[in-house]
Each structure stands twice: as structure tokens, then as C-alpha cells.
Symmetry: C2
Subunit: 104 residues, 2 copies
């Protein structure tokens, strides 16, 4: 699996709209054939901090996601609502779901 | 759901042992009745950087996890292997799995 974990700090006045945009992106991304998860999380300590946890079957599937209308819409919509540039960290899986992941 | 995302930077000479310890913790935590996920991820850009993505049904379930023998063993085992203190961020869910999460 290929996992992208994106931390976003949102300007307080745009949090409600950001959540709506994130939900739109999450719901549409979950319909992509090679998307496995798209969890939208909110920090317990900082209500303006969010984590998007996106899992794709392959790195290519993530690249395909970045070409979708819903991703491009999300990217453009939220660009000015962030208090700082979003931080995306890309990963491979060691253990995922209920089992170890063979390492390449 | 209650989600704990822990970023760990491991000293290079301890990475192999860290992975073993993380797998032990993940496998045992998945057997806890109120654990939903325990993904162990490795950064694509920095092979010494890991993300533990832990999902519990409730905050209390996470507190219970922290009392288990496998958690305490993990915590003690890896303490000296980290290049810097681990960074744990606790979250509630806005969208999880295949649907929106009712907000309390």
C-alpha cells in the first residue's frame, strides 16, 4: 500500500468550509477503484489542525488521484484557507490492516 | 473513533530492531477488542522515519491499550532507539472508513 498522511493547519475562520471540502474530497476519493481509505481527522488539542490519511493500492494510484476533478477542486478550493503550507508525508506499509506487508 | 498518529525518528543502527518491536506491538494491539487499526508505515523519503496509525473505538480504549503488557514492553524496548522524542497527535474522526462520522 502507498499511504499519504497530510497535516493541515486551517485558518480558524475557514474551518467549517474546510471540513465540507475535505468531506467532498474524501467521499469522491473513496470511489476511486484503487483507493483503500481516506480518513479525515481533527486534532483533539488543536481544532484547527487536521490529518488526511489516504491509502492507495499503489503509488501510481495516488498519481492518478491527483489528476481527478475532485482532487483538483479540493486543492484549489482550500489553498487560501491554510494557515501554513500543508505537510504531506508519503509512506510504504510495514504492517497494514491485520497483517504484515511483504517488503520489496 | 479515537486516532493516535505517532511519528518516530529512529536511530539508523536500530531501525531493524525497531521494526520488529513495532510489529510485535501492532500484532498484539490488533487483538485488543476495541482496537480497529494499527498500521505501521515507513516514510518513502526517510527510511528512518515511521508513522504508527492507531485507531481505537473510544478514548478509553486507548487508555486501556496503554496499560497492556505489549504496549509497556514496546515503550521500554524502543525508548533508547529514537533519534528524538516521538510525536503523538490524538484525533477524533470526521470521516472514517466509508462514511462521515457524527460529530459530538
Amino acid at each position: 500500500m502507498y499511504v499519504v498522511a497530510v497535516t493541515v493547519f486551517v485558518k480558524p475562520e475557514h474551518v467549517a468550509a474546510f471540513v465540507d471540502a475535505a468531506l467532498d474530497n474524501a467521499r469522491n476519493t473513496r470511489r476511486e477503484p484503487d483507493n483503500v481509505r481516506f480518513d479525515v481527522l481533527r486534532s483533539e488539542e488543536d481544532a484547527n489542525r487536521f490529518l488526511l490519511y489516504e491509502v492507495y493500492r499503489t503509488k501510481d494510484a495516488f498519481a492518478a488521484h491527483q489528476q481527478t476533478p475532485h482532487y483538483l477542486r479540493w486543492k484549489q478550493t482550500v489553498a487560501d484557507w491554510m494557515a501554513q503550507p500543508r505537510q504531506g508525508v508519503k509512506h510504504t506499509t510495514v504492517f497494514f490492516g491485520d497483517g504484515d506487508t511483504p517488503q520489496g
